[in-house]
Amino acid sequence: MTTPAVEFNGVGRHFGSVRAVDDVSFAVATGEFFSMLGPSGSGKTTCLRIIAGFEQPDTGDIRVGGRDMKGVPPYERDVNTVFQDYALFPHMSVADNVAYGLMVTGVDKAKRRERAFEALSMVKLEGLENRRPAQLSGGQRQRVALARALVKKPRVLLLDEPLGALDLKLREQMQVELKALQRQLGITFVYVTHDQAEALSMSDRLAVFNNGRVEQIGTPEAVYENPETAFVAGFVGVSNIVDGAHASRFIDGAHAIAIRPEKMLVLARDDEVPIDGYRAANGTVTDIQYHGSSTRYQVTLDDDVALHVTVPNRDLSGRLKVRQAVQVRWRVEDVHRLRNGSS
């Protein structure tokens, strides 16, 4: 077993009476793409700042590459950060920005120029070396920030919502490039995002944060397919969450459950044919949302439980109507029993 790149052991950080981070423990393997996913104020950015050394944990300890980081200032840590606002120095050229980390550690001028150009070509920004950050587009600034953080070949690269300010198309393109870059360099990425689709598509593993705590850690498939808490079920993708009082038709005992809308079928009441392994409940269509590639039906069951069912729009001939009597079906193994989360 190799040493993890980053290790959190019971880390807590309080601002006054607010517990920004509360008893967080996890380990990031070397070379892993690890995401910290959560809504704003969930503690993910504070955790990132603790790794970088901008914040000190009040309780617990963290290790980077097996070394205890207690009392180690940011400039002595083998990690680099891509900031949310990029934090490019406005009074320096692109090349000087990228070479900054080498300059302050005493790398000679020719060598740092060479390595800065190398880093800039890695992020496909050749030819802009002499521009000022103010003369670049948002996407280009993002790449400069990335090159600046990568030029020192850190053990761990920290990314704080790096794509948040970009428009959708550019963001998707950068997601692919970032992932490719990470694979090519073999550097451990710790990636903070509030965008669940981003976290699912890019990560090797992800940690879902809520109220300063980690609710669940796992591979994207594990977290999506087996959400353990109501928060995870609702924040990562869309779920139907049914409280314990109404869940008896889904599960034995009074436990809250979750089931994904795309795991269920909805059929008109008159063409119901029993299917092996599926359970069924009767209800009425109360709302229809057309999403282009799919349609989402809201079906209200007889006991007033409303469920969403997503149906791919393979063809539109079998579409249902509002107020139509329907039957909803699902497989028992797609129903997830939830434990109490921190929310």
């Binding site: 970088a52 050394g53 901008f54 200032p73 940011p74 400039y75 990690v79 680099n80 950060t81 900031f83 949310q84 606002d85 934090a87 490019l88 120095f89 406005p90 009074h91 900054y100 980390g101 300059m103 302050v104 550690t105 600046r148 953080a149 020192k152």
Partner: protein, 311 residues
Amino acid sequence: MTTAVATAPSLGRRLSNGLYRRPTLLLLLLLAPPLMWLGIVYLGSLFALLAQSFFSIDEFTGLVRREFTLSTYAQLFSPANVDIVLRTALMAAAVTVAAACMGFPIAYYMARCTGPRMKAVFYLAVMLPLWSSYLVRVYAWKLILAKEGILGWFFAQLHLTWLLDAVLALPVIGGASLSVSYIGMFLVFLYIWLPFMILPIQAALERVPPSYLDASSDLGAHPGQTLRHVILPLAFPGIVAGSIFTFSLTLGDYIIPGIVGSSRLFIGQAVFVHQGTAGNIPLAAAFSVVPIVIMAIYLTWAKRLGAFDAL
């Protein structure tokens, strides 16, 4: 359905609507009075002054001869007058450097380390001296610096009178007591102009996002390097703005050198003496051109250093 009663719009409303449709007229109405004030009263008197410096005074009648001549400037460059200019410029430079060194840490603390309440306290503390009369404050310093004054007493209590005497025994900057020495004058100038240095630096530092400092540290720069490569370059426009105040205010002041200091003249005093008792307005005008020229040179130099690039 009700019938609308057409009431005539009020005068204010009609005026607003009229101006809304003619934005140029509005701009002209708003800007013309201050621009005329600036153009005619301010710049006009300055140019009248400059023109005066190219006249000369008739030695015999003592009247101003209104003919173009450079003889007044020749007079300005006489050794005695050059002494005055150099003395003033050196004092202004020393005050500016000291004010920047003292003002920066205070400004940094105000901009970076304080909460809103503490910041208000600091603003008050920095500005408070400006609320009282300049003359009162200068005379207060006279008492502090006098031979039997507060500072002398303080040194005596600490059994450090020998140190004060040693400092006063220094050639040129020393003197019989602090209140008649260049050191004393320097202290008073520094005290009086310090707020004008702190506030612009504080404003410049306030505009530097904290993430720049994080980024610098994250990339391996220790605090000294962050100060040198990130904070100082970005605060430089503020330092230059502050130094314009401290430098030009010291260059032109004629009250402090009169109250605290020796009988050796400063530019402001020279202007005062020449235009008043001597009635030599051309030479007084020539003297007042000196600070303008020095400031122009200083600003050109600052611009070349890149002081205004980050603006």
